[in-house]
Symmetry: C2
Subunit: 385 residues, 2 copies
């Protein structure tokens, strides 16, 4: 446990325990080490609750004075839902603070580190930076753009098809892929799909695993309000349903809207854009509800619209060793790309082998890189010449 990098990776694991519960706050993990031994651990458990550093301090049953604090994200220097963590750190006599990455929130963004330095705390910045940055990508997007972070989930054949000619798709990928997909659902704030998928597959949009279900928001884009209240999404926790429908003919749909609202679901009027709903408008409404980390599980049209509008941030592509040929249904609808120069390139690609399938991940935009760059700038600014 002497290597700060290793300890920081353990903080990352702690942080991830809070995933799905922190709304517009970042997930953070912290560990306190005294004389080379861990004496406290903590993570940010839920929006409005104590920050990870305070959780770790409260977890200590031994003397904190003179200890080392490891924390994935720069401690806060401002009053938010809770008082500034840096004051507590100084008061408790913590000697050294190891910071994973700098807080992208401009109200902090180095101020926390500078406060600690001014108060005689040794600060080391930049450990397991990539891991620390990647767990707060959706927070960074929220800070920079005030939009949710959208991950596209696609399950396809090797030749890029999500269903056969007749629409049948159960199951292209195997049970370990589907279990992994349910895990991703379980740590998302919401699962978004289109009315086409609801009508074709009637999904429950819950996260299901052994003996347990979880219910992120079920977000459905349904421009013409075609949805029936008989659908599976209303069967359990209908109050977690948010149905977006076109504002233009909102009044004509009053009876239907009342009917849906009676289930406990929300119906939200939304602007149209091109032949779908305006995703910026959808995004604004989701942010209002603290829904930041959204898994998009649409068909090819929904996925393509998020890519075309520049809203897609990440892709999870489950690829099975199967082929369907040209009659199969494309994983992505038209992107209006005419030549090879126009192709979209994903960065930070990774592949994981599952049972029979492979999971590709890639980013449309790399927020982690921005956080790591900020961390470097703050470190340079605060370093002695």
């Amino acid at each position: 446990m002497a290597d700060p990098h290793e300890i920081m990776l353990e903080c990352v694991n702690l942080a991830l325990a809070g995933k799905g519960h922190t709304k517009t706050n970042p997930v953070v993990g912290a560990i306190i080490v005294q004389n080379g031994r861990v004496i406290g651990r903590g993570f940010h458990k839920s929006f409005g609750g104590d920050h990870a550093e305070i959780e770790a301090i409260n977890d200590c049953e031994e003397e904190i004075n003179g200890s080392d604090l490891y924390v994935t994200l720069e401690p806060c220097s401002h009053f938010g839902k809770t008082p500034p963590c840096v004051e507590t750190i100084v008061k408790k006599g913590i000697k050294r603070v190891f910071v994973g990455v700098v807080d992208p929130n401009p109200v902090n963004a180095g101020n926390g580190i500078e406060y600690l330095l001014k108060n005689g705390v040794e600060v080391y910045v930049g450990f397991a930076e990539k891991a620390c940055a990647e767990i707060i990508e959706e927070f960074a997007k929220y800070i920079y753009k005030k939009q949710p972070f959208y991950s596209l989930k696609i399950a396809q054949t090797l030749d890029g098809k999500i269903a056969a000619k007749d629409g049948s798709s159960r199951w292209i990928t195997d049970e370990t892929s589907r279990q992994h997909a349910h895990y991703i659902r379980s740590v998302s704030d919401g699962i978004l799909t289109g009315i086409g998928t609801v009508q074709a597959d009637d999904p429950a949009l819950s996260a299901r695993f052994l003996g347990l279900k979880k219910y992120p928001y079920k977000i459905i884009l349904d421009s013409s309000l075609k949805i029936s209240t008989e659908r599976e999404v209303f069967a359990e926790k209908p109050e977690k349903c948010i149905i977006f429908t076109s504002r233009s003919n909102f009044d004509e749909k009053t009876a239907k809207i009342d009917n849906i609202r009676k289930t406990g679901a929300e119906v939200v009027p939304c602007n149209k854009l091109n032949d779908g709903l305006d995703l910026q408008n959808v995004s604004d409404e989701l942010v209002k509800r603290g829904v930041l980390n959204v898994l998009v599980e649409g068909g090819g049209k929904i996925h393509a619209s998020f890519i075309k509008e520049g809203m897609a941030d990440k892709a999870y592509v489950f690829i099975a060793g199967k082929i369907l040929g040209a009659e199969g249904i494309d994983s992505l609808a038209s992107l209006n790309i005419n030549n090879i120069e126009g192709c979209k390139t994903l960065s930070d690609l990774n592949v994981t082998r599952l049972k029979n399938d492979f999971l590709f991940t890639g980013k449309f935009y790399d927020y982690a890189k921005d956080i790591i760059n900020l961390t470097e700038r703050v470190r340079n600014r605060c370093s002695p010449e």
Copy 2:
């Protein structure tokens, strides 16, 4: 070097040095160990030449009597281009023989092993079986079906497109993928493509790498004989070109055929099947010429035809982290698959990370499995009760 498995894997590496030169013979590697020390190495260098065992024996400068022979494939017991290896093994006083896999050729298929046993040689069968079987998959297909082994090479986006709407595709994959593809070309007997690809991309169909070129056969399916002698395939080693064209209007094309033959290229009349050439007929002609290991680098139509006719054996799919959307050109044309039950499943999937891309490999049929099963049957048959 004490582990037979490790020594056998070194034999596999030796065997691969012969890849591309053995025509209808299998590649084989052999090592002779005396008192725990390697004293000879050999591999089957070319069709008609000495077998690997004999090469290894001739490589020894020390006493062979009492030594161990490791060989990827069961030594032959029959007169082919050379006398039976098993006789030489016995004469040289080799004490133990470690065999990777049993020879799928029915004239041998355990007979070599039984000959050795009858002559007092200790025989151990089944080391690094998967590796030993995989290097002779094309030989197994030749033995079982008298057809070449066809590997499809596809370079595609994550969403299964091989070109943009306008046909542009240079370059979807990066330079390390292309270099790897040239390596695969270099160990193939032939590279097969369709007239469509020749007209669109004008490929040289040679294997190119640092400071060197290699020229496998350039095999072009050109039903209507549209090819021009100005094409790159004729620019170097035109005598390695084999143009297959429809037999039906062969006579009408006499002038053009003469013109092509003047370059040194071959023009072969071929039966038609559906809207293409009969791939069984093509296969027969290739086998006649000792062309067994064929890399198919067509467009979506050629690849689909090999899959539909049940001729495709393996796929190399280079996948770039890029997307083109539905306008892009599919990596596979129609396979006449209507529902998910009809999808083709590849087995023995693997993925390798290249620079920016990933290389998937998978098998349409697993000949290695057949060889391993045969090996098990022969081992059981020859084992004491």
